[in-house]
């Protein structure tokens, strides 16, 4: 009994120190003279942590969404439209998140009776319908030409903007990871887990399955909308491509690679995504020197290699990296 609690204690310590270390590193990075581009991709990395954590909240209740880009885009569009008219970006961001949560509730209502692939395809369908709607309502949304998104802080230069945005996105990411931790550990989280494991049993133990499923949809859509709104203000431009299937699949890729239904999954997945993609990008000048024939092929090779990495990781670690890492960090008996 004693050894078990000791193990538990030390494991907790390691993860605690590790996350502490990561946050410290993240906090000090901007003070080194790094290029704006590196800042840019780091900000995107935080954005992906936030986005996949929000997705994870829904997945935690056993509902897998293939169309989360719908919420991302709604958050982004609403804040854009609001800010263009009022120049109050922070309120816009909040309104974007709220509208997204509301739409999440509506989509959730159509989905409560659906399972697995049915649910996945319906959510995916919503994101495709959003593309058509956005193009069709072009007077309002700017159609495919898109909308230019006002900045969160007008009238500061790009270096400052990136500096601020770095901390905003970092805060958002940490906040979303912590809040998912909080929700998952709470009674609500227990209900989510119960529904995920066995819906009928959950019902039998008196859990209001419908209520919690809708709650999961709403919360997840809220945070996704929030992330999307901040993202739009960062990129400065938004068009229908925000609803693209690729955007819907990223949180799934990140979560599955990182470790499904774990808190650290989104973090590990996003960091890994960042490293793989930047690594492939950094290799580009070098690849160009090996063979001139590679010039036109390499951009495609990058995606090809990324795909191959996905395949290999999934085959070797079907449960994702987080459980492997946990084992690795756990002291051997």
């Amino acid at each position: 009994m004693k050894t078990i609690s000791y193990l538990h204690f030390s494991l907790k310590n390691i993860t605690f120190y590790l996350s502490f270390l990561l946050i410290i590193i993240a906090l000090v990075i901007p003070f080194f003279q790094i290029s704006l581009y590196l800042m840019h991709v780091l900000i995107l990395m935080f954005y992906y942590i936030g986005y996949s954590s929000s997705w994870n909240l829904l997945a935690y209740s056993g509902q897998v969404s293939f169309g989360h880009a719908a919420f991302l885009g709604i958050g982004a569009y609403i804040t854009t439209l609001f800010t263009i008219r009022t120049s109050l970006p922070f309120i816009g961001v909040l309104i974007g998140a709220i509208v997204s949560a509301f739409i999440g509730l509506l989509i959730g209502l159509t989905c409560v009776r659906l399972r697995e692939w049915f649910l996945a395809l319906v959510t995916f369908g919503f994101s495709i319908i959003m593309i058509a709607l956005t193009i069709e309502l072009d007077e309002f949304t700017g159609g495919t030409l898109g909308l230019i998104v006002p900045k969160l802080f007008p009238s500061i230069n790009q270096y400052q903007y990136y500096f601020y945005y770095y901390y905003i996105m970092l805060t958002l990411a940490v906040f979303l990871v912590l809040i998912s931790q909080f929700i998952i550990r709470s009674k609500v989280g227990l209900a989510f887990a119960a529904i995920r494991e066995n819906e009928l049993e959950a019902k039998a133990t008196g859990i209001n399955v419908m209520k919690y499923k809708l709650l999961a949809f709403t919360i997840s859509a809220f945070f996704t909308g929030l992330t999307g709104a901040f993202y739009a203000h960062f990129i400065g431009f938004i068009n229908h491509q925000i609803y693209s299937p690729e955007n819907s699949f990223w949180p799934i890729i990140i979560n599955v690679i990182g470790g499904l239904a774990t808190i650290e999954g989104p973090v590990i997945g996003s960091i890994l995504r960042f490293f793989i993609i930047e690594f492939l990008r950094i290799m580009e000048p070098w690849v160009r020197t090996i063979s001139p024939g590679m010039i036109t092929i390499y951009p495609k090779m990058q995606i090809l290699i990324f795909g191959a990495i996905l395949v290999v990781v999934i085959i070797l670690m079907p449960k994702g990296i987080a459980p492997q890492l946990r084992k690795f960090l756990t002291p051997k008996e």
Partner: protein
């Protein structure tokens, strides 16, 4: 097995970090001063086919300038070589912003060139605007990239034809050449089939605009849309057939235009006059169309396949074929010119100061190269746009190959316009 997997993963992660760090360090070593030109092109994604042509053309221009010794810059009192750094925007706004930021802040480019999709360029030009990097846009055909009002576009230059140019040329041609033959006593019925993107919508809107402002007797009887990347246009074409047009204006890319024309003639039985826009000026377009392209129309500004009309084009074509083994496309031509234009501007500025380069580009006056100008001189107007001379080609199938001849305007005319075989005029 499990332990080994763990070990492999750990080693892989560490290796990735180490190699990235090393490569990062390696790529950021201060090199000797060169003129760095960043090319923004779509090398993957839905417009990947055009990006490659832009890249090849840009490489050729850079190689030629470097072989000639480089660009004389007064500030350094020597001829500097040009270094081309290519960034892939993946036909996606988010990636576009990232890659332009990378080109500017990591590769420290002096000038940017390229940009294909209008929507992507609208997003990706923002970092260039913020950092005051001159950007010569050679692909995006929506005028909004230099006329946007929310940002200061004084560093943006639009060195390519825009959708206004396409549509104006086309409606003028229809009115001047086609209407007298087909519908002398009534309004000409025109149908549009356009991509529902910024570019296609631009073509549609400017067509309406020019018909109205020029007061032409042309009626738009149908306007159908399709999604970027679609390959099946049968339903839209059937609907257009139902509207009985005299001509169909297809605003899209190489792939969809060729498909639509072929499907329209072969499958739908819509035997009419098809008008394609210059985006299609790619060797693949002619190959793909084959006999179906007989006596169909292509609006263009650069005709490497046409009968010789300009020495510059002939030279470029020969060099391009020698270097890459294929006939050049249209997108590369703008980019090729733009590189020379930038080199000239830098030489004029005598410095690599970005503001001075911008001024030099703004005030540039040089003889036309591949793209013909109305007055033969490359210069930018107050909107930072050029005034190109567009023309209309008619493609003739001689039994083995499809070859274009210029039929409009009169000063470039190589042949008289003829109606396509089996042409069925539309109704009023």
């Amino acid at each position: 097995m499990k332990k080994r997997t763990q070990l492999i993963i750990a080693v892989a992660i560490i290796a990735i970090i180490v190699v990235s760090a090393a490569a990062y360090y390696y790529t950021t070593l201060p090199p000797t001063r060169t003129i760095k030109i960043g090319l923004v092109a779509s090398l993957t994604g839905s417009a990947a086919d055009v990006g490659t042509d832009m890249e090849r053309a840009a490489m050729m221009a850079v190689e030629e300038i470097n072989e000639a010794g480089g660009v004389y810059v007064k500030e350094y009192n020597s001829k500097l070589k040009i270094e081309l750094i290519v960034g892939d925007d993946k036909t996606n706004p988010q990636e576009g912003v990232a890659i332009v930021t990378k080109l500017i802040t990591e590769d420290n480019v002096d000038v940017l060139v390229g940009g294909f999709s209008s929507a992507v360029t609208l997003a990706s030009q923002v970092p260039a605007i913020e950092h005051n990097v001159p950007f010569v846009i050679t692909g995006a055909s929506s005028s909004s990239v230099t006329r946007r009002t929310d940002k200061d576009t004084s560093y943006m230059f639009h060195y390519c034809t825009i959708t206004d140019d396409y549509s104006e040329t086309i409606v003028r041609f229809l009115n001047h050449t086609v209407k007298p033959i087909v519908a002398p006593n009534r309004n000409l019925s025109l149908a549009l089939l356009y991509q529902n993107t910024a570019y296609g919508q631009g073509c549609y809107q400017s067509t309406v605009y020019f018909i109205n402002t020029l007061g032409l007797n042309i009626t738009i009887v149908a306007a159908e849309t399709f999604n970027m990347g679609d390959t099946d246009f049968h339903t839209q074409l059937l609907k257009i057939k139902n509207a009985k047009p005299d001509a169909v204006y297809h605003a899209g890319f190489t792939r969809d235009t060729a498909d639509a024309i072929k499907q329209g003639i072969a499958d739908v039985g819509l035997n009419t006059l098809y008008i394609a826009v210059e985006c299609c000026e790619e060797p693949q377009f002619y190959e793909f169309l084959g006999s179906f392209g007989d006596r169909q129309i292509l609006e263009s500004k650069f005709g490497p396949q046409a009968e010789s009309y300009s020495e510059a084009v002939d030279d470029y074509k020969a060099k391009y074929i020698e270097r890459w083994g294929v006939i050049p496309g249209m997108m590369g031509a703008d980019t090729y010119d733009a590189i020379y234009l930038i080199a000239k501007a830098i030489e004029n500025a005598g410095t690599l100061d970005k503001a001075k380069i911008r001024d030099a580009i703004e005030n540039i006056e040089m003889p036309q190269m591949l793209i013909m100008m109305k007055d033969g001189i490359i210069r930018f107007d107050e909107n930072h746009e050029i005034d190109p001379l567009c023309f209309i080609e008619q493609m003739i199938w001689d039994g083995t190959t499809l070859k274009p001849y210029i039929v409009y305007p009169d000063e470039l005319k190589q042949r008289d316009f003829e109606l396509p075989p089996g042409y069925v005029p539309g109704g009023p």
